[in-house]
């Protein structure tokens, strides 16, 4: 009421207008209705599309839900327990351990669980902001961890030896994908730098490698490791199949990674290089402190895309007789006890792959937002 108190000063001040409180917006403009009006029914054409869309959902969704959930069987011991006519998830639950670990001996399965769990834990820790000792955890993940994981998985130091053909299922998928991802980035960066190098020999070698590997399909690389490699080795020698696949996959994805990184390097304005040189930095300091951090930030989406592609390409190792998740499922559906349940198996495979790939892409989106410091437009 202070505005009305004008008598003491004896001077008339104009009354200040107090607006009435705003009326709430019409119910048709906010909330779900408003959103729907704005986005789904903004004109007759959009309304029609929406209705058609809803109708399609109505056609597709109930049968899928019915198959996957409402008339599906979840508990049981064998195929005879699948009586409701829907999906037979009993198959997945009975075979779950096999899909995850392949032929890894049952008594030793705590080892891959521990190795993968430890790796994931460290990785999540490293990727979280504002936690102490991140640097040390990252260093642990880079150097001692792969060695520890190797011995955990394959044995040694008192642990019984488990040969690589017994590694299988999702474990194998993870092993191939993580080795491929972890090794392709550094090799790819080195190749990208090499390709832009002033030294002709190094440049030619890098260009030759990248162009050759990119020009052949991954499946050919895997076949070559399978068919051609033994020809060069002494007869009867046995070069670990998994190691061959790992080398093939790593080199293959490194070549792609090199081109992705090169894209980032070329996007850097020349001024950045010149400024760094003007400060007296040598080549490696310039790359480490100025160029690569910015270049890599630019190409995060492309890097993660190629990681996701690599993750999915791991299923190709089936061709050379390694039993990854997909291969394990294909094996399982040929067991005459479970024959004809391929749909359930493939659905399970798709869900598992989706979770991992979607997780990776979500993290990359987060990373982009976090590192989006300059260049904001």
């Amino acid at each position: 009421m202070a505005t009305m108190d004008t008598s003491q000063s004896g001077r008339e001040t104009p009354a200040v207008h107090v607006p009435a409180p705003d009326l709430p917006p019409p119910a048709t403009e906010v909330g779900i209705i408003g959103w729907a009006r704005a986005n789904l029914f903004s004109n007759w054409w959009n309304s029609l599309l929406t209705l058609v869309g809803i109708y399609l959902f109505y056609l597709i969704l109930p049968p899928i839900l019915d198959w996957a959930i409402f008339s599906a069987d979840f508990v049981g011991e064998s195929r005879d327990d699948c009586t409701s006519g829907g999906a037979c998830w009993v198959f997945i639950s009975i075979r779950f351990d096999q899909f995850i670990y392949g032929f890894y001996p049952e008594a030793e399965r705590w080892r891959p669980t521990l190795a993968v769990g430890l790796g994931l834990l460290c990785l999540v820790y490293c990727l979280t902001d504002g936690v102490p000792f991140r640097k040390y955890v990252a260093m642990f993940l880079c150097l001692p961890f792969p060695i520890i994981a190797f011995f955990l998985l394959s044995g040694g130091f008192g642990l019984p030896h488990v040969e690589t053909p017994k590694w299988g299922g999702f474990l194998l998928t993870i092993v191939i994908a993580s080795v491929g991802i972890a090794s392709s980035l550094p090799i790819g960066i080195a190749l990208a730098l090499g390709r832009r190098s002033q030294m002709p020999v190094i440049r030619m070698i890098c260009i030759g490698f990248i162009e050759f590997v990119r020009a052949v399909p991954l499946i050919t690389v895997l076949f070559m490791s399978l068919v051609i490699l033994p020809l060069f080795l002494p007869p009867g020698s046995n070069f670990d199949q998994l190691l061959r696949a790992l080398i093939g996959v790593s080199l293959f994805s490194a070549a792609y990674m090199a081109e992705v990184v090169r894209g980032g390097l070329q996007a850097m304005p020349k001024g950045q290089y010149e400024a760094a040189q003007a400060l007296g930095m040598n080549y490696w300091t310039m790359m480490r402190l100025i160029i690569l951090p910015q270049a890599l930030k630019i190409v995060i989406p492309a890097i993660v895309s190629s990681f996701i592609g690599l993750f999915k390409d791991t299923t190709l190792v089936l061709i050379i007789g390694l039993v990854d998740l997909l291969a394990m499922i294909q094996l399982a559906v040929t067991d005459s006890k479970w024959i004809g349940l391929a749909t359930e198996g493939y659905a399970f495979c798709a869900i598992l792959f989706f979770i991992f790939c979607f997780g990776m892409s979500q993290y990359s989106m987060y990373l982009e937002r976090k590192l989006h410091t300059g260049h904001k437009r």
């Binding site: 009975i94 032929f103 033994p230 046995n238 070069f239 089936l318 007789g321 040929t334 067991d335 006890k337």
Partner: protein, 338 residues
């Protein structure tokens, strides 16, 4: 110079396994397990069960060899091989033998340098029809519409068969086995033709398997059997006779159930030789004298393995057909054990 020797040492360390091999049998014995190449899953022939143990008709051949060598069917490592990877795997010595639905052909035997050590399944192209058609023989199929894979030898065999028998047919051509099965199930053709073992497996995936029947005629030859590398005859003999033992055992009526009685009391000289009561047959192969007894005891004879994996009482439901013993009207025949 120093680098060269380092490299050499590294390579030598990598490839120690199996470089100085006296023979596959000795290698297998020294290793303590047999490495057997199987398919990447074929219903009834090779597939891992719920426990991850491999089972199937081809797997039994591997188990028979392992039992012959070690007396223990568990001492096998199974390596799944694809149609592409199977031959390099055997050539490079990654596997000791293959038992994976491989057709014995001239090219594979001679040019690829393998030795087929017998036939454990006589496959061939067959026909499946609906029971309610009342067809009992492939020779009654005049005028039928036939579902078949495009561009395959199956398609050519089909044409030959119908032309040779002066019959007409309408081909309904598809790219993949799954498509054919769906089409056949939806009544888009009267007949489904492919290899009989494949027919049986596909039949079990139809909506009402019992409404369909695989006709007895076989119109092409697909002899499937185990194979080993060419040149190691001792090992070839071990694999050959491990399979033969199963066939001979069926012929002589020896089963896993009665093998102990037979060994104790049989008067039949061939059974006595087979079970190691008389003669020294095992040691001539480099095996124990009771190797055949062990195979029959643990894996069973041919009929037992067949019934367990692909026979009429399994989901695969394959009749014996040509795979019956020669004494029962089939062509299964093993050389005498003497």
């Amino acid at each position: 110079m120093r680098y060269t020797s380092l490299c050499a040492a590294g390579f030598a360390a990598m490839f120690v396994a199996g470089t100085a091999s006296a023979g596959t049998l000795d290698d297998v014995k020294a290793r303590g397990e047999l490495i057997c190449g199987v398919t990447t899953g074929l219903a009834g022939f090779a597939a891992p069960d719920d426990k991850g143990e491999w089972a199937g008709f081809d797997v039994d051949v591997c188990r028979a060899v392992a039992t012959g060598v070690f007396g223990d069917p568990k001492k096998v490592k199974f390596v799944p091989t694809t149609g592409k990877s199977r031959f390099p795997a055997l050539q490079s010595g990654e596997v000791d033998m293959l038992a994976r639905n491989t057709t014995w052909t001239f090219d594979r035997d001679v040019k690829l340098g393998f030795e087929f050590t017998g036939i454990n399944f006589y496959d061939g192209q067959g026909f499946m029809v609906r029971k309610d058609l009342g067809v009992k023989s492939a020779y009654e199929l005049d005028g039928a519409s036939v579902c078949v894979t495009t561009g395959s030898t199956t398609e050519l065999n089909l044409g030959d068969f119908f032309r040779a028998n002066n019959m007409s047919y309408t081909p309904v051509v598809y790219e993949k086995a799954d498509e054919i099965r769906t089409a056949y199930d939806a009544n888009r053709c009267d007949v489904y033709t492919t290899d009989r073992s494949g027919l049986a497996a596909q039949r079990s995936e139809l909506s009402n398997p019992d409404d369909h029947v695989v006709l007895p005629e076989v119109i092409s030859k697909e002899p499937l059997g185990p194979l080993v590398q060419h040149g190691d005859h001792q090992w070839g003999d071990v694999v050959r006779w491990s399979l033969n033992v199963m066939i001979i055992a069926e012929e002589l009526g020896v089963t896993s159930q009665n093998v102990d009685d037979m060994r104790a009391s049989s008067k039949n000289p061939e059974i006595r030789r087979l079970l190691g009561v008389e003669g020294e047959y095992g040691p001539r192969l480099g095996l124990a004298n009771d190797w055949a007894y062990n195979i029959i005891k643990t894996v069973g004879n041919y009929a037992e393995s067949y019934e367990r994996n692909v026979g009429p009482n399994t989901p695969i439901g394959l009749e014996r057909g040509v795979n019956a013993l020669w004494t029962d009207g089939g062509i299964l025949y093993a050389p005498p054990f003497r």
